[in-house]
Amino acid sequence: MGDYKRNVQLDWLTIFSYLALVFIGWINIYSASLSESSQGFFDFNQIYFKQLVFIVTSLGLIIFILALDSKFYERFSSIIYLVSLASLLGLFIFGKNVNGATSWYSFGSIGLQPSEFAKAATALALGKYVSDIQTNMKELKHQLRTFLIIALPALFIIPQPDPGSALVYAAFVFPLYREGLNYIFVLIGFIAALLFVGTLLIGIQWMILIIFIVLTIILLKKKKRNRIKWSQYAIIAAACIGFTFSVSYVFNTVFEQRHRDRFNIVLGKEVDEKGIGYNTNQSEIAIGSGSWTGKGWLQGTQTKGNFVPEQHTDYIFSTIGEEWGFLGSITVVGLFVFLIIRLLILAERQKSTFGRVYGYGVASILFFHFFVNVGMVTGLFPTIGIPLPFISYGGSSLWGFTILLFIFVKLDASNYINR
């Protein structure tokens, strides 16, 4: 009997977090999109009403996902992945150009953005490949294949162009690390990021000096214990310096001015409030003016005045900050942290490697979106246009994240059915 009860046990903590975020998202989209021209509540042209439709259809999707047999996802993961890749490629032929990006299929008044669904497909394919008994993450061949699975969709997304969505695939480094990928990959990524920001911030000369100082300190510490491999350190130093130069080169010659601007604004090097930094600046003003409890729902002056562009999509968090204040925005941050940690705990208790890898994938993708979006809106990171999961306006985005999350809810629930 006990087993039977657990058979049907869905993780309600996850589901409640999901519902709370979706609800918070909708009331803030309502505030951010409310306009004088609204013709009553049931006006399909209003953004908040469309989002309501997306939410209701998402609930249908959830029932459908939960109703399917959990084995379906593992078995058909390759097919789902291939279909997803095809849909990304198809954009180059059938895609509709919106605001200079060909990221959409258009079906009448409804648009679908395949990159939002490709994340779930990639997570499934990754889970399938890594959990394969043949795969050994320590072998270079398998490492390369894994890399390919992740990189292919990203490569198709970049030229849309939608570099923000492509960047999300970097998040898959976390499930791979969990499955035994050498820590050196994570470390290299981390050092590369440090060198990148450092070079832009203080310039090549200072970075070279710092590299030498840091390496010398490590060298002197190790000297006491082991024999020193001078060649190794020379290579590391050369690599670091080479990377530093290449950053400078890429930044100044490969990057376009708008990319440079975005970085410079966050690094505080150029303050241009009416120009390129306008979005971030207005978003900071909106959030900053919220104080403890905010200006109240529908009372945000920044929100009402449409000072923050894209406020119902990528910048929705600024509405939350303005109208609900510190308490409101900290609640949303808390909900995300809670949900992601909950997913990590669930992933760890999965019986199958497939479930665990997929669970880690879900948590990593959600975290990456949360990290980049809130960082951007609060002015900590450069402007990278990706939505805040479950909260930002958009059908494809909501459906994509719902599918991503509830496949895992289903996998988790069926751990106990198939024992």
Partner: protein
């Protein structure tokens, strides 16, 4: 370990975001102000400024609409400049210059392009205004003067300067405030309260409706009208009589302290400080450093009072008991002290108090003054007692009237002389101050102070503080300080002989030719010696002509002081002017047309130009 990497990154991220949000939302409060500036526009709604009436209800000042052409430089689109300039009556170069200046100031802020159009200019322009993007017409309310006199009483309004804005947060750049006169004194009554509207803007700076449904908005409240104690007819007549003369006239109603007329000459037409030529006119008035039309001689001018001061010397002597009415004092061409003489003019001698006043005998009053001071063991104590009596007449300090200009005058005390003579290194005695007895020497009074002591004499021992406010619409009463009697230190019985003396000034004394049939006037002439410095050289000028009077003798309805700079003897100008004004006020018309014509056409401009001519000149001609 591998399980913990992402977990710890997630937790750290949560903490970092919480800290960032705390910084933005709680710690750094500047964002609140920024969002307000961003999204809320404050629009003020200015009420009508209160009207100003005279004591009889004649409208002196009302409002008129004025139209400013405003520009928001950024919004200006190419236009038919030729036509536009023609409508505004400006040159094309002016157009370019003003627009460029506006650009430099701010491309986004609305600024005045051409201020204060006339009605006809406005009518011609308003039809075509739709063609000129970036320009619009703003209606303002300006003062409309129904009289051409009283500019020193009324004051004027002008835009607030930065000092005022700093001191008083009510005012914003470009708003108007009363400067000088009752416009300044009763600014808060007259201006009312401006209304405020908060308007929500969008990021294109467009209005999108009231902020928070207008719960913070307020309606303007209209300024209150005020009624002045000024008698416009008397005021106007006074100003006419003072044409081509310098000095001041102030008339009071002794029973109330109400100011009936307050003439400062030279004066200017109040309408000069309204409209497009305002600043040009103001500069002209401001830089006239010789005639000083902006200097209110009647409130700020400090003059030696001359002989009218003798009435006070007499009153103090009587109060101090150093003289009685019967004692007669000899005068042999003046008062001798030591080896010096305080000169006097020809009159019969010896004289007692009443004829002493009527004939203005210097020797008599010098004697009384000296006895008053010497009654006390030291001249210091004597002077201080003497001063105490004078202070009780409102002299030697600000009077407390409700106009924002004035001076203290000077009634010296013992400290003053101690300093001047370096006491105790050197000693000083009463004769050193003897000129005070006849209103020369160190004492100086403003014409307003002179009329105040005259009113106190008329009232036989008390005065009301002079004031110009008769009634504030919507207020029950005027301030209490204007409705309480201020008693002098002199007992009422001592006033009658002095008043008799002032009456005899008209009967047979120094102003006997200025009698008005049917009115019993009491007065006192004055001829005040005075000096100025021109290019560092001290020179004596023709005496000031001074006169104080009240009438009728037993039921005083008007007290008046007239001061005519360099008008020579008292009855030559000041006495005549006082006589005409009393007749005008009490009888409503002038019977002595010859006298009136003499004063109206008389000019002292030659006299005034003498010291600046660079040529040697003779005084008192």
């Amino acid at each position: 370990m591998r399980k913990l990497l992402l977990l710890s990154i997630v937790l750290i991220t949560g903490v970092v975001f919480a800290a960032r949000l705390f910084y933005l939302q709680i710690y750094d409060t500047s964002y609140q102000k920024l969002s307000e500036n961003n999204a809320v526009k404050v629009v003020y709604n200015y009420p009508q400024r209160g009207y100003i009436f005279d004591r009889k209800g004649n409208l002196l000042v009302s409002n008129q609409p004025s139209y400013d052409v405003m520009v928001i430089p950024k919004d200006v689109k190419p236009l038919d400049t030729l036509e536009f300039c023609k409508l505004l009556k400006i040159e094309k170069e002016d157009f370019k210059r003003i627009l460029e200046k506006a650009w430099v100031y701010s491309p986004r802020i609305a600024q005045v392009f051409i201020p204060q159009l006339t009605k006809s200019e406005y009518a011609a322009l308003s039809e075509k205004m739709y063609k000129y993007r970036g320009f619009y017409i703003q209606k303002r309310s300006l003062r409309n003067y129904h009289v051409r006199h009283s500019s020193n009483v009324l004051g004027y309004i002008s835009e607030v300067n930065e000092r005022i804005i700093k001191q008083n947060p009510y005012y914003q750049m470009g708003e108007l405030i009363g400067m000088g006169g009752v416009e300044k004194q009763y600014e808060e009554v007259l201006r009312g309260t401006k209304g405020v509207k908060y308007i929500q803007k969008d990021r294109f700076n467009r209005d999108i409706g009231p902020y928070k449904e207008g719960i913070f908005d307020t309606l303007p409240t209209r300024g209150n009208d005020i009624m002045l104690t000024i008698d416009a007819d008397l005021q106007q007549y006074g100003e006419e009589l003072m044409i081509n003369k310098r000095g001041g006239i102030v008339a009071l109603e002794p029973k109330t302290g109400e100011i009936l007329a307050l003439v400062a000459a030279p004066n200017y037409d109040p309408a000069l400080l309204v409209g497009r030529d305002r600043s040009k006119n103001f500069t002209k008035l401001y830089y006239d450093t010789i005639a000083k039309p902006l200097f209110d001689r009647v409130l700020q001018g400090e003059y030696p009072p001359g002989s009218p001061f003798k009435t006070l010397t007499a009153l103090i002597g009587l109060q101090e008991g150093v003289i009685d009415l019967d004692e007669r004092v000899y005068c042999h061409g003046g008062y001798r002290y030591g080896n010096r003489t305080l000169g006097c003019h020809h009159h019969s001698t010896p004289l007692s108090l009443i004829p002493g006043i009527a004939n203005s005998c210097n020797a008599y009053f010098a004697t009384v003054y000296r006895r008053t001071i010497d009654k006390y063991p030291t001249p210091q104590e004597g002077i201080d007692h003497w001063r105490e009596h004078l202070v009780s007449f409102g002299l030697g300090n600000y009077l407390g009237y409700d106009l924002p200009a004035g001076n203290k005058g000077l009634i010296p005390d013992s400290d003053y002389y101690n300093r001047a003579y370096q006491y105790p290194k050197y000693k000083w005695y009463t004769p050193a101050t003897i000129s005070n007895s006849i209103g020369q020497g160190e004492v100086s009074l403003t014409p307003m102070q002179m009329v105040n002591f005259t009113a106190a004499i008329a009232n036989r021992g008390y005065y009301y503080k002079p004031h110009i406010i008769k009634n504030i619409v919507g207020a029950d009463s005027i301030p209490e300080k204007y409705t309480v009697k201020n008693y002098t230190t002199i007992d009422p019985e001592y006033f009658e002989p002095v008043i008799q003396g002032m009456f005899d000034v008209y009967n047979y004394g120094t102003a006997s030719h200025l009698k008005i049939p049917g009115i019993e006037i009491c007065g006192k002439t004055g001829t005040a010696e005075n000096y100025i410095r021109v290019n560092g050289k001290r020179m004596q000028l023709t005496d000031h002509s001074v006169f104080v009077a009240f009438a009728p003798k037993d039921d005083p309805k008007i007290a008046i002081a007239v001061f005519v700079e360099n008008g020579y003897w008292g009855s030559r100008w000041a006495g005549k002017i006082a006589s005409l004004l009393i007749e005008k006020y009490l009888k409503g018309e002038i019977t002595r047309k010859d006298l009136e014509n003499f004063v109206l056409s008389g000019s002292l401009m030659d006299e005034y130009s003498k010291p600046y001519s660079g040529e040697p000149f003779k005084i008192n001609q």
